[in-house]
Symmetry: C2
Subunit: 335 residues, 2 copies
């Protein structure tokens, strides 16, 4: 065990794309657990587009991270000292660890995870908030049904790659939008998508017409901006758009681009709906069981993109915005 | 009866606001009814924001009006000759009359209306498509419920003024957005709105905060543009936005303004949904009965703004975009 605790803190509110000077990397003493607390070492940290929103000083579904505070992050940690009878040394937990090597907690937000059931990284991806976001967004918000055409943007990302696979399991036709030929090939070869559109080299409007000749019943949007705008006029009657994210807009220094084609919602009698996965917490258990069953049956192939070293957090985070990851982006902090 | 039939035809596709030269006023012979047809004289023509969309050469929920075709319009007409046993001379009908004095029809789209039950103009307003749009948009699409806060834009317009009253009947708190002090006063004095905001003189964002301190459960939008954008961040959790129209954008010569605050849908877990009233045709009968009951009970106070003279159609239509009407705008063509 290290004698110091390396932390990545938010030093300044980024304007646009986060820069190195927006972060400070601090060495502090490893904290001591108090009564009813445990000390844990962080093993894996989940990197998510939502993190960019937490860095802005605006009201949202969660408080922003304060200046000079440890950056918020979900992660997997191992208990190394415990004064809490509910957590034993050697237990693994999922909780909001923050971007740091060690933390103490009373365990109120910690959920135990079992490395014998699934590799630890899966609890950040397919069996974690990523998987839950895909599951409830697709099946509850967008109400995808057998025989329908589902389009997902950010299809090679953590959430998008699971959305597409769940849609296939449910008997939908699935078209993914991703950046680059390689990602598109992987969507078809490894994740069984029916079609993939490379928005960097193809005309998205034409490609959607080609791959969705009857129109689009469900659009699961992680990207926003021009992608959302191009999809809108191709929605089928009574279509559903689940708004999960808008990664194309998160580093904007100018105003967010609103979907100027939103009146297509009227023409197609469609709806566009936002959601936050935490609202489904009561149903996570059942959903995780179903997801684990699909994994065991070989129907759900989850992808992780793992980088190493806590000090690399500022650079690795940018991969999300640069399209540098295929599948769930995870930072490994310890073995 | 006149010997000629005056028609208002679309001469050119308007760019932005329709100009006099976009119309031609023609005198043609009064048509003769063929077998199984009737000849009818038009009494009232309904003027609606949707007409602006019909003039554009774009795919929508209905075909555009062709160049040199009689402008499409719904209206009330009286049968003056009939070779159709289902329609007698003296019967009144609602149908797509077009902007003209006379027309022949086989009656396929004509619905008889009874001036003894309600004045004829009511069949274009509260008991017509206007009323049906308000009824199904508010109660079916937006699912307004007792105790909720409902905001309606274009509140002094034909649809908006009915939306607000139905919401009051259903036990909602109702806030109207309209242009001008006089309209706002009428909303409160005559239509029993709880509050009215004059978007021309007030700061809409602040006024909404004041009048909707708990946020907005339902927004019924006739206006679009900056109004929609300002409302979005004030939606309550699980709010519903019914997209009925976007009159602020219909005469745009530049691109439609998309709602840049659409990601607020995520923060508030809200949805935005478009609809077309014709989809509810099967339920019109029951809804009209309920509306007639509210009128009879003095709970639903419908307003008509009636102008005269078919040759004035091009000018009168512009009142919709200039905010020149309070209530349903109707052109009287004949006594």
């Amino acid at each position: 065990m290290s004698e110091t605790n390396t932390q990545v803190r938010l030093a300044a509110r980024p304007v646009g794309r986060p820069k190195p000077e927006d972060w400070s990397i601090e060495q502090v003493a490893v904290p001591q657990p108090g009564a009813n607390e445990f000390l844990a070492k962080v093993i894996y940290i989940s990197l998510d587009p939502a993190m960019r929103g937490w860095m802005n000083d605006v009201k949202s579904y969660i408080e922003p991270v304060g200046i000079n505070e440890v950056m918020r992050a979900g992660g997997i940690a191992e208990i190394i000292e415990s004064n809490n009878p509910e957590f034993a040394v050697g237990d693994h937990v999922y909780c909001m660890t923050g971007v740091q090597q060690y933390f103490v907690s009373d365990g109120a937000d910690a959920q135990k995870v079992d490395p014998n059931i699934a590799p630890l990284v899966k609890y950040l991806g397919v069996l974690g908030m990523t998987g839950m976001t895909a599951y409830f967004g697709l099946l509850d918000v967008a109400e995808a049904k057998e025989g329908e055409t589902v389009v997902v943007s950010g299809a090679a990302g953590a959430v998008g790659s699971i959305v597409g696979q769940i849609a296939k399991i449910k008997g939908c036709r699935v078209v993914g939008i991703a950046g680059g030929e390689k990602k598109c090939q992987l969507l078809i070869d490894e994740l069984d998508f029916d079609a993939a559109i490379d928005y960097k080299s193809e005309d998205l409007r034409k490609a959607l017409r080609q791959h969705c000749p009857k129109g689009i019943d469900v659009f699961f949007d992680n990207v926003g901006g021009e992608t959302l705008n191009t999809v809108l006029p191709q929605m089928r009657r009574h279509g559903r758009i689940a708004i999960c994210g808008a990664i194309s807009q998160y580093n904007n220094t100018e105003a967010v681009q609103g979907p100027s084609n939103y009146m297509s919602l009227l023409v197609s009698r469609s709806r566009m709906e936002g959601f936050v996965v935490f609202d489904y917490a009561q149903q996570f258990g059942a959903a995780m069981q179903e997801m684990a069953g699909w994994m065991a049956a070989g129907q759900l192939n989850s992808k992780e993109h793992i980088e190493k070293g806590i000090e690399n957090f500022p650079d690795v985070l940018l991969k999300l915005f640069d399209g540098g990851n295929f599948g769930k982006l995870i930072l490994q902090v310890d073995e």
